[in-house]
Symmetry: C2
Subunit: 411 residues, 2 copies
């Protein structure tokens, strides 16, 4: 079954907004074997919406409209859909009662406008909204399913999962679609593609896409088959071959982030970690503590943006700073060793570099970063030269640090 999605709302046509509901819907639809073939974004405009909806009726068996179910004059979806399908709108007493109860609970009086939300096209089914007033609407009409869903994601998502997906699964006759994402670190996108193209090219199913996503390379595999098990088997066959080739550059085969993988290893090995960050300004610690449970392995550390704090908090000898400068191998080494000693962590990590755009010199250009790791086996320091702007240099520097930790604790 093919679907198309029509996102309705004038705000979605400004430079500041993009429709993201369709990404959620596509993911869920794909999982039950429904492909999204077309997406349209249209403003709160009766005529254009009607024209777009009419065109959709001519080509798709499942049409999902999002937004436009509110109580105001701008919210046209109910009316336009009913009009194009030539179905009269009828007030549903249960929905009206529910609306009245909600307004009473909120201590607000219900206006005439709000009653519009109790109206649905004749023969349609109202879908309960657990997080808002606008009910969704499920219409089956001359072989086409039309779904009207509220715009706010926290209303749309639970409604779609609980009220729509089960019905669609029972109707979907197509293949099941399953996906798998391999995340790769330490290789550029072009090299990943060059290495694995001979492996994935012979496969039309699964289809393979390679993406660069915030410091990692992601290999997306997407298989379709009559059953989920068969699709998973297709994924496993290709994924195993790719993993074998890329080896330990693959840090995740089930969606975990690099910081989650590092946290998992540290937890398993019962190793504690402390960091001393200069040019990354806390980004490494912030990433490590994003996931719950990070207090099991992360002790904390020093934000030593100034030279004085490199000495005061991370124990870097002033002489080293004078002799080699803050962005240098010896200082990076001292930061990792110093923060380890100062905190009693099993592993100390240091980052010092020039994030830019200012502060670079011919000898020490913007993008030069030293990352160090100290543990009971000794200290390693690596030098990097990252391209790109300040945000990219900072991101890549933390990515390099996480990868160095991963390799150290994994072995």
């Amino acid at each position: 079954m093919d679907a198309e999605i029509i996102a309705v709302g004038s705000e979605l046509l400004t430079p500041h907004h993009t429709d993201t509901n369709s990404l959620f819907l596509t993911d869920k639809l794909n999982q039950v074997g429904i492909e999204v073939r077309l997406k349209t974004i249209v403003g709160d405009d009766r005529e254009r919406l009607a024209s777009v909806f009419r065109a959709a009726l001519g080509r798709s068996k499942l049409i999902i409209l999002t937004g436009g179910l509110g109580p105001t004059e701008d919210d046209l979806n109910r009316e336009v859909v009913a009009q194009v399908l030539a179905l009269p709108l009828r007030e549903v007493p249960e929905i009206r009662l529910r609306l009245e109860r909600v307004f009473k609970r909120l201590g607000r009086t219900m206006s005439e406008n709000n009653l519009r939300q109790a109206q649905i096209p004749e023969g349609a089914v109202g879908l309960e909204n657990q997080n808002g007033t606008a009910p969704g609407i499920w219409i089956e009409h001359e072989g086409v399913i039309v779904l009207l869903l509220p715009g706010p994601p926290r209303e749309l998502e639970p409604m779609f999962e609980s009220a729509c997906l089960p019905r669609l699964i029972s109707l979907a006759v197509g293949d099941r679609i399953r996906t798998r994402v391999l995340k790769v670190v330490g290789l550029p996108e072009s090299e990943v593609d060059q290495r694995i193209a001979p492996i994935y090219k012979p496969y039309a199913n699964p289809a393979t896409t390679i993406l660069a996503v915030s410091g990692s390379i992601e290999v997306h595999l997407r298989a379709h088959a009559a059953s989920e098990e068969a699709a998973d088997a297709l994924l496993a066959e290709l994924a195993d071959k790719i993993e074998l080739d890329l080896g330990d550059h693959v840090f995740s085969a089930h969606g975990e982030t690099l910081e989650e993988v590092v946290g998992m290893f540290l937890g398993m090995k019962e190793k504690t970690l402390a960091v001393a960050e200069s040019c990354t300004g806390g980004l490494l610690a912030e990433r490590l503590t994003r996931a719950p449970g990070s207090s099991n392995f992360f002790l904390g550390g020093a934000l030593c943006y100034s030279d004085a704090l490199k000495t005061r908090l991370a124990g870097v000898a002033p002489k080293l700073l004078e002799e080699h400068g803050a962005v240098s191998k010896p200082v990076a080494r001292a930061m990792a060793e110093g923060i380890r000693k100062n905190t009693g962590a099993a592993i100390g990590v240091g980052i010092t570099g020039i994030a830019g755009p200012d502060g670079g010199t011919p000898e020490k250009p913007v993008g030069l970063v030293f990352v160090s790791l100290a543990d009971e086996r000794g200290t390693q320091v690596r030098e990097f030269r990252f391209p790109g702007d300040r945000a990219r240099v900072r991101l890549w520097a933390t990515q390099a640090a996480l990868e160095i930790i991963r390799r150290r604790v994994r072995s």
Copy 2:
């Protein structure tokens, strides 16, 4: 003049991708008075693309197609547009020469497929691509302008700005559109709306939209007028009234982020800052150091995730931790005062709280956060209870800290 945008590419119909070129195009088009009325996203599918393009021809005077200009069989835009407009494709010798030069420089041989990129519909104009091989195409046909632009943003953006915008400006007869964003902190969205609705409601032009964006409330104003100056005057009139009402809750009237405003104030007042972060794990420091030049005011600080590091790095007395627990007013106070003393900063800021999802108790629930600020005038501590998940609690905690710093250094 009204425009519509058709983004072409099967990858844009997966759960992982969204069309962002249209946001850039919308922004630029708006600036010269052209409104985007409809956006369509369609896969690499000849029939659907033709149907969508035909529908667009029936309603819009400017149609921009993005993507689908590559050298492969999947890239259909040239052919489909030529076919629907009934224009033959002709090879342009200059484009062919340019392609040959590019391939020679890269040391690659040009395949037959690549020659497709030298073909454009009869009567059309090729647009030079400074960052790739695919030229853009400008077609004027029976009163409609059709633009074919390459998909990669780094190819599309300079091409649109240098080759398309000047032509469109000379053709656009509509109003100029200008926008202004007021950023508000410390008030919930509903209260912002309640307070300023009586001010903006009487104005149809500028149009006003209120958005909640990562910890701030943004008031977007959008005015159109015959000239940029006239539109700016309309914006200024309404913006001044809104700013007068919301007072110092408005922290930015020209797009700066809260951390940029705080950095600006600290720089102006020549005050240095150090932080001691617990539950935010470095996010406050990371935000403060995102912008270049932060080393002028930010010294660094302590990531004191563990209790031991609260004592070791931020000088919190172990007795305080035992008596009151790490998430408490006295510990927050000691963190700000301790990190100030330990670093010699003019201002010390402390954050301690329970970001969740675990670690909450009935007395100290998830979302409880204490933010403290110590300077030469004394120490203040504020208690917050933030709703939402871990990421939201951490974001709001840093937002609260930045706002406390802003208010202190501004006065």
